[in-house]
Each structure stands twice: as C-alpha cells, then as structure tokens.
C-alpha cells in the first residue's frame, strides 16, 4: 500500500471580486497517494488551474486543511511552505515559461542554484537530464530557438532536475500539436512508472486517459471520480 502524498480536507478557496465573494474551490476532499497519475478535467473556469496552484502552494486555500507528506501546509509559514515545494514539487506549464535570457542548459540548472547544489554536482545532474531527454545537442540554444515540443521537454527536464515527488502540469500539451502531445504524454507515463506522482490539468480525453485516475471538476467542486 503506497503512502499518502497529500490530502485535502474540505479545502476551499474564495476570493473577493468587487463586492462579491467568489468561491473558486468548494470543499474539496482529495487524497493523493505516491505513484498516482491523476488527470483533472473540467470546462474552463471549473477550478483546475486554481486547484493545481493551491496544491503547488503558489496560492493558498482560504479554508479547510491541506496536508503534504504529513505536514499541515495550511498552518505553515510562507518560508517553510516555499521550502517544502522547492524540495518536493516540480511545475510544468502550458506556455513552458522558460527564462528567455538563459540557455537550455542554464534553464535546467536554475532550480539547483536555488537549492544551493554544488557546481560540480549541478553539471553532472544537468548533463544526465540532457542525455535522458536526448537534447544534449541543444544545450547552448536559447528558448526562442526551439520548437514548442522541445521547449516543453526542457520545461519537464527543469521540473525533474530537483528530483521532485510530485509534478504538477497545467495543460502541458495545450500549445503543442498532436504528435508532440503524444510524445510528452508518453514521457509522463514513463516518469510515472519510474515512481513520480503526477497531477495534470487537461481538456483532452485522450491525454486524461494516460492517467490512473480522472477527477472531474465543475464550478470548483469535484463532481465525479
């Protein structure tokens, strides 16, 4: 029986928009075990991205409990929270969000810099990653010189370099054509088999099917699993 990675207990997020209180996430109860591959589905505005951001600790829930690896995230200070996600979570974005000023190599290296990994060790880790993703030849190129699929590969490599337990992917193939999409999803599948827990938000039934578990959201509520 796999360990529980995170659990949400009546997690809620509301924001004030003008005079109205808008509920983005409404009493979400969710348990994620290590090694799962979860696909969040639902129409635009159903709360997929918000849920990912909250799980990734970029945003906070405004109510309810959030436990990550047994630690109560909802009562943590900002500093500890950022330490936690730095250590265990990697992000993959629809628009890749590579740093334009840095080369492929440097982009992948960046998370290690923030973790104060030594230079020699960084070199080894980045080289391994480039090798694994077959992009050694592109290591000195800048993001604008790459195709969308290649940029997303770099994005995933960057997410993986810190050896996270959890990868959060928000529409990772949204800007890609179907061939590139398939490649990326195959890669996720592969990673999942190697033990990385993945939560992805997606519109595509086909992409969702790569997951081991599909959660449907509507208006901030889980409607079906």
């Amino acid at each position: 029986m796999a360990n529980t990675l995170l659990s949400l207990n009546e997690a809620t997020r509301t924001v004030n928009s003008g005079n109205n209180k808008v509920t983005l996430l409404d009493n979400i109860n969710l348990q994620v075990k290590e090694g799962e591959f979860i696909s969040l589905m639902g129409p635009s505005g159903s709360g997929k991205s918000t849920l990912l951001n909250c799980i990734g600790m970029l945003d906070g829930f405004t109510g309810g409990g959030y436990t990550f690896l047994g630690e109560p995230v909802h009562s943590m200070k900002e500093k500890n929270r950022s330490k936690l996600y730095k250590e265990y979570i990697g992000f993959v974005f629809q628009a890749y969000h590579l740093i334009d000023e840095l080369t492929v190599w440097e982009n992948i290296e960046t998370p290690l810099l923030y973790k104060n990994v030594k230079s020699s060790e960084r070199k080894g880790l980045v080289a391994d990653m480039l090798d694994r993703f077959n992009i050694v030849g592109k290591k000195d190129l800048f993001p604008v010189q790459l195709s969308g699929g290649q940029q997303q590969l770099v994005g995933i490599a960057r997410a993986l370099i810190g050896k996270p337990k959890l990868i959060l992917a928000d529409e990772p193939t949204g800007n890609l054509n179907s061939k590139q999409s398939t490649e990326i999803m195959e890669l996720f599948s592969q990673l999942n088999k190697e033990g990385v827990t993945i939560i992805q938000a997606t519109h595509s039934e086909r992409n969702a099917s790569y997951g081991s578990r599909i959660i449907n959201l509507l208006d901030g509520k889980i409607v079906s699993e």
């Binding site: 970029l58 945003d59 950022s82 996600y85 969000h97 334009d100 440097e106 923030y114």
Partner: protein
C-alpha cells in the same frame, strides 16, 4: 549563483538595447554634469586652501558711511591702520601691508629687453607668514627687511631669464624719477589658481618709503592716514576668536575717530577665506565669485542627479511586464524574494558601473569646453583628482543600491500564480509616486529654462543699452613708462599724420576698465558750501579729445581751455556728480569751483552721465581732470577698417617714437565686454544645466510612456478593434502626461518668478519680465514632452490590434 546574477543581468541589458541605452545615457549625463559642477563648486569654495594659516588671516577693509548707512565698501585701507591694530587690538600677531603697484602694469627692463609686469605688489616681510609662498631659490632669513628687494615667480623668471635660478639678478623699472632697481632675492612658485591675491612679483615694503623714484611715483609716507590705497592683512594669534577680534575692532574705530584720524569711515575685518565668494567691495584685486550662484548650482545638481536615479527607477519598473514572467518562473522554481532582490540590485549596480565608465568618457570629451565655459583655470584636472573619483564611486554604490531597491522590491513582490496567468494589476502600484517624480523633474526643467531665458535677455539688454559712450573700434595703447611726458606730442602727431587715424586721446583710464584705475575721493565740495553728507566721487585724467573721441555728450560749458594760464586746474564733471551737489541745471555748474586734494578746480563743462562701468552697476559720479600727458593710456580711433587691421601701423609709430619700449595694447570694446564675463559664465553654466536637465526629464518621460503603453496594450487593442483612430489613441495616451506637466508648470512658475526677480535685483538696469519669458519656455517643454511621448505612443497607436490581443 553570483555568476548567474551577472549572466542574466548582462543578457538582459543586451536584449533591451534601446532601454539600456536610454538608461545609460540618462545616468551618465546625470553623473557627468553633477561631477563637473561639483568640481566647479569645490574649486570656488576651496579658495585659500593652499595657505595653512588662512583661517587666521583677516583682511582689513574700509566702509564709507553716510550717517549709519554704508555707502561704499572699499578693499583698501590707510597703511597706518596695520601697525596701530597690531599694537592695540588683542590677539593680533602681526600685519602685512600689500600695495598694488602699476595699474594695469609696470614696465620692467632686463638688460636691453622691456617687459610689462602685471601683478606687482609691495609687501611687508610678514606677508610670508600669512601666505604660503616658500622660496625655491634664495634665503628666507631677513627677507624683505631691506628696500629694493624682489621675489619673482618661476614663470616670470623663465620669461625674463629662461631659467629659474635668478637670485642676484637685477630688474630695472623705468619711469618718473628715474629707474627703480630691484634685486631679486628669491624665486617662488606661481600663485595658486585658488587664491584671491595672485602676483607675478613682490617687492619689499621698505622700498615704498626709501627709494627716491618710488617716493616720487607713489608718495608713500610714514604713518599714512591720507591715502587708502593699501590692502591690509593681519594674522591673528593661534586660537584667537574672529568674533572677539571684530568687536575689539569696533573700539579701535572709536579711538581713531576720536583722534580724528578718520571720519565717516570704519575699518572692517574680513576672513580671507570669505573673500572669493562673499566679498563684493570696490578695488578687489580680482573679480570674485558669488556664493549664491555656487549654492544655487549645488542645489540644482542635487536635483539633477536625483532625477537621473528617478529615471532609472521609472525605466526599470516600467520593464516590469517583461520581467514579470522571469520573476514568476524563478519563484516557482524556488527562488526566494531575497535572491530576486539581489539580482535586481546586481543589475542596477552593473548599470551604474557602466554609466560611470561612460561618464568618464563624456567628461574627457567636454572637459576643455566646460573649463572654457565655466571659467575654471585652464590647467584644471578632473581625472587625476581624487575628489573626482570619490563622488563617482559614491554615486555608483549608493545610487546603484538606492535606485535598484525600488524595482527590486516591486518586482520581487509579484505573485507568481497571477503573473503566470497574465494578471499584472500589481504593477499599477507606485504609478502615483512615479508621476510625482516626473512632476518634480519637469518643475526643475521649467525653472531652469525660464531662468536661462531671463538671464540671456538681461545680458543682451545690458549689452545693447545706450551707454552714453562709444567704445567700439578703438585701440588703447599703454604708456611706455609711467607718467611719460617726453615725446608724447611727437607720438600723437605721428599717429594723426596717418590717413587711417581719425583721433587720438590721452587719458588715465578708459571706460570698461575696473574702478581700481580710477581715483576715489569722498570729500569734494563746491567751494563756499558745506556738504550735508559725504559722497564718493571717481576721478580720472583726460585730454581735450577724450569726450569727442568717445562720443560723450557735452550738456553745458566747453572743453578744457588749454591756453588759459589763470586756471591751470580744470575739470569736466558729469550729471551724476552734479546730483551729489544738488545742482539740477548743468549750466548752473559752469564756472563754479570745487575743492579737493588741497586745491580748487574750475568746472569747465558738464557731460551727460555715461556708463564708465557696465550698466549692471549704477552710474558713477565722475570728475575728469585736465591733463595732457601720456600718463597711462592713449586711445586711437580710426577712419575706417577694423582696429586690428590698423594695429601694425600703430605699433610701428610707437616703436619709432619709443624705441625699445614694450608695446602693450587692448581693444576697448573687448575690455568693456569683459565686465560681462561673470554673467556670461553664469548664463553658460545655466544653459548646460538646462540642456542636461531637459534631456534627463525627457528620458524619464519616455520611460513612463513606455510603461503606460505596455500596461494599456490590451486596452488600446480593444479600442482599435471597436473603431478608435490612431489620433484618438494618441490623444488618449498623451492626455495623462500633459496633465502631469501642467502640474509642473503650476508649481514652477511662481517659484521661478521669485527666483528671477531676486536675480535681477543685482542689476542697476534691468529688463521687465515679459510674459513670453515664461510662455516660450513652457511651450518648448510641452513640445519636447509631446515628442518624447510620441516616440512610444505612435508605434502602438499604429500597430495592428491583433498582436496585442492574441494570447498564448
């Protein structure tokens, strides 16, 4: 990690070439102008700093009083004051008399060669205790205790002898009473540039009292309470208090008034460190600076450097949108706020260092021009000067940190989840602050621009004012020796024989020379009257051709009667002098006699008052005494052609009449124009400041415009899609800035009005403040504003809205 900061910073700078360039130019010009002005003000404030005892040296000057009001402040006092004060006033260690010999110059012979010595003073031995002039050659023991001793500067030694070791050589000064011989007993370094009393040669004061020729020429006597033609310095004891000295001086004044040594006068003490910036008395050894201008300049450059930093902040934060994604991604990847702040600070520092490098190049480029314009000494150095590098380093470090701080905090506080979704509402914060800064920048710019216009207008006004005297197209020749009576008529006749020469006039002084060449006497009255108060009169010697040559209008009476034997003593006075005697009708003065210098003088004529000094000074009450000798100057007027074209002929005639004598001349109009030097300099420095200030303010506006345009990209796109024209968009974008600048106008106009009024108070004759002096600068600023906004807004107003509306 550090390497990473630098890498990103540099790549960012290179990627945003335009912005980097604007930032660099803005910062570097700000640095450059600030450093230049700092050096200038430091030089002005550092007068006398080369004299270690300067804080103990006090110059004694003389105030002329009418009742309790000071009417004239004279730098020169009676020679007898020095010994008396040293004896009677506590804390005075010693005194030094400094007597200026030869206005404007003294002929000196070395073997068979003739020279004109410019700044020649007779000084007491203790002069060397007060002013730091060490002898390079010669002995300081018993220096200047004996008559006919001389100390010359290195450059004079080189000029006269082609070497500096010239102790033992003898200089001869020809003139009335025969030759005066000076034995060179010492050679010292040249006077530093930052001292108010600069000399080429010093002679021992005993010469004044014992050399027969000197006595005949200058008539110095022991215990002299008659002529106040001497600069007087006293050295206070170490630790003495200047204020208690000045109060002791009051008692001293009472005593000498009681003794009837002086009347309606008082002796005043003045720290020599205050002379250059604060002293505006008559007969100053050189034209002094002005403390108000110096502090005003300092205040302005502080504002300019602030503006430059403000611009950097504006431009950097306006980049926020571009940088936001980077910040967001980095935060997601685990960067802390602190790390991000460090990165922005590193960028700011790099930018400032690059700007500093550019600054050095700018300064090297404009250095000589600036020295020229500001009137700094030509040998002034910037680059070899620690006081140049120190502020630059301070700017880079403090400025870099301060200007980096704001962007660092604003940018690092972006929330990654919102940025990565494209929500930039955060970046709206601080717009008010930044607008405030722009208001401030433009207020300064408008103030400077209006001032520049006014200063310019006032100087033009002074230059073109009817002076009542025509100084154009003349050559003025200095007499070969003092009081040359020999051969002058032969010289005059040989000049007049030339068809090119229209007229020749002999005089002691000409208009435009400093007042120090004029004599002053307070106690002049119409004989048979008792004046109710004392007025200062200015006297000079002229011949019969003077008034007609210079076009001075005769109001009543006639020229001098050269044939008269009964009245050898004749004067022509001006209207201004008549006012002092309460005579209203000029013709009523004719035939009256005035008494001064122990004699009576017949008023032959009255001339209209003319501007002996530039019209920034009030008109002088002038008394012209008849003299037909080549005592000092000969003015030559020509029938045609430029004076410079006729120079050779004049020189040839001079040399044939006075073989071997040094030929020294000046153009009267140029000499007259020199009086505007201070104003010209003020104007020029102001103009430079204004140009820089405009440049920096416009760069700032450009930055703010780019920010606003970027922020409203989507809005503009939507407006265009629903039908807005490019013009409508332009108006929409410009409206805000026009409003901002309007606020600057409202703030700056009253301030400028007061400043300008205050400045004009310095002038006896001044312009009216026309409305265009305000409206034109404001119009200029507005056109510049529209131009700098236009650069950014036109592009976006014309662009295809699809680009700005397309999302990823």
């Amino acid at each position: 990690m550090i390497k990473n900061y630098f890498k990103i910073a540099l790549r960012n700078l290179i990627r945003n070439k335009g912005l980097t360039l604007i930032n660099l130019i803005g910062l570097a010009t700000g640095f450059a102008i600030t450093l230049l002005i700092l050096q200038y003000t430091k030089f002005e404030k550092g007068y006398e700093s080369t004299h270690p005892n300067a804080d103990r040296v006090v110059r004694l000057t003389l105030n002329y009083l009418t009742g309790n009001t000071v009417t004239t402040q004279d730098c020169e006092v009676y020679p007898a004051v020095g010994p008396r004060i040293t004896d009677e006033v506590p804390d005075v260690e010693t005194f030094a008399r400094v007597y200026s010999i030869g206005e404007p110059s003294t002929p000196i012979q070395v073997e068979n060669r003739q020279f004109l010595m410019e700044n020649l003073y007779a000084v007491d031995a203790d002069f060397f205790k007060m002013f730091n002039y060490k002898l390079i050659y010669g002995s300081e023991k018993d220096l200047f205790k004996k008559p006919n001793e001389a100390v010359i500067t290195e450059s004079v030694a080189l000029k006269y002898f082609n070497r500096t070791d010239v102790v033992g050589e003898v200089l001869k000064s020809p003139g009335g009473g025969g030759y005066i011989l000076y034995n060179i007993v010492g050679v010292t370094h040249d006077s530093p540039l930052n001292t108010h009393l600069k000399f080429d040669m010093l002679i021992s004061y005993p010469t004044m009292l014992s050399d027969p020729a000197m006595l005949q020429r200058h008539g110095e006597i022991k215990d002299n309470w008659e002529n106040n033609n001497t600069y007087m310095y006293v050295l206070l004891e170490e630790g003495a208090n200047f204020n208690s000295f000045t109060s002791a001086l009051k008692d001293f004044n009472k005593r000498i008034i009681d003794e009837k040594k002086i009347k309606s006068e008082e002796v005043i003490g003045q720290k020599i460190t205050d002379v250059h910036l604060y002293s505006k008395k008559t007969f100053e050894p050189e034209t002094n600076g002005d403390a108000d201008s110096v502090f005003f300049l300092l205040a302005v450059v502080v504002l300019i450097i602030l503006s430059a930093f403000v611009n950097y902040v504006n431009l950097t934060t306006s980049q926020a949108l571009d940088r936001a994604k980077e910040v967001g991604v980095k935060k997601v990847l685990g960067s802390t706020k602190v790390q991000l702040r460090i990165q922005f600070l590193v960028e700011s520092l790099i930018m400032n260092v690059l700007a500093a490098i550019l600054t050095v190049f700018i300064i090297l480029l404009v250095k000589s021009e600036f020295i020229n314009i500001s009137g700094l000494p030509e040998s002034f150095t910037f680059i070899g000067n620690l006081s140049f590098w120190l502020p630059l380093i301070v700017f880079v470090v403090i400025g870099g940190l301060l200007s980096g701080l704001y962007p660092a905090f604003v940018l690092s506080s972006f929330r990654p989840s919102s940025i990565l979704k494209g929500d930039y509402s955060h970046s709206l914060k601080g717009v008010l602050l930044r607008k405030g800064l722009v208001v401030f920048q433009f207020a300064i710019t408008i103030i400077l621009l209006i001032q520049t216009f006014t200063v310019n207008e006032q100087i033009d006004f002074l230059r073109n004012l009817d002076r009542g005297v025509n100084v154009d197209q003349n050559i003025v020749i200095e007499a070969p020796i003092k009081n040359a009576t020999k051969n002058y008529s032969a010289f005059k006749q040989s000049l007049l024989a030339s068809s090119n020469v229209k007229a020749v006039s002999l005089s002691h002084s000409v208009p435009g020379q400093s007042t120090s060449v004029l004599s002053t006497t307070a106690d002049i009255r119409i004989t048979g009257t008792t004046p109710d108060k004392y007025h200062n009169f200015y006297l000079t010697f002229i011949d019969n051709d003077y008034t007609s040559l210079l076009g001075i209008e005769m109001l009543a009476g006639t020229n001098f009667d050269e044939a008269s034997t009964a009245d050898k003593r004749q004067v022509i006075v001006n209207e201004e002098a008549l006012k002092r005697w309460n005579i209203i009708e000029p013709k009523n003065a004719i035939g009256k006699k005035i008494a001064f210098w122990g004699g009576e003088w017949l008023i032959k004529g009255v001339v209209k008052s003319y501007h002996q000094q530039s019209p920034k000074q009030p008109l002088l009450p002038m008394i012209h005494i008849y003299s037909n000798t080549f005592r000092s100057l000969a003015t030559v007027q020509f029938t045609g052609g430029l004076p410079s074209d006729n120079l050779a002929e004049v020189k040839e005639k001079f040399n044939s009449v006075y073989p071997g004598a040094a030929f020294s001349y000046f153009f009267m109009d140029q000499e007259y124009d020199k009086q505007f030097k201070a104003e010209d300099r003020f104007k020029n420095v102001f103009m430079i400041l204004t140009v820089f200030s405009i440049l920096i303010a416009c760069l700032g506006l450009l930055g703010l415009a780019s920010f606003s345009v970027a922020k409203r990209r989507k809005e503009i796109g939507v407006r265009k899609v629903v039908g807005a024209s490019s013009t409508a968009i332009l108006i929409l974008l410009s409206k805000d800035f026009i409003k901002t600048v309007m606020i600057s106008v409202i703030i700056s106009v009253p301030i400028t009005y007061l400043l300008v009024q205050n400045w004009l108070e310095n002038f006896a004759y001044k312009i009216d403040l026309h409305i265009w002096l305000f409206t034109l600068p404001i119009l200029i600023v507005f056109s510049l504003v529209l131009f700098s906004i236009g650069v950014k807004t036109l592009k976006i107003a014309r662009s295809n809205p699809i680009h700005s509306l397309r999302t990823e």
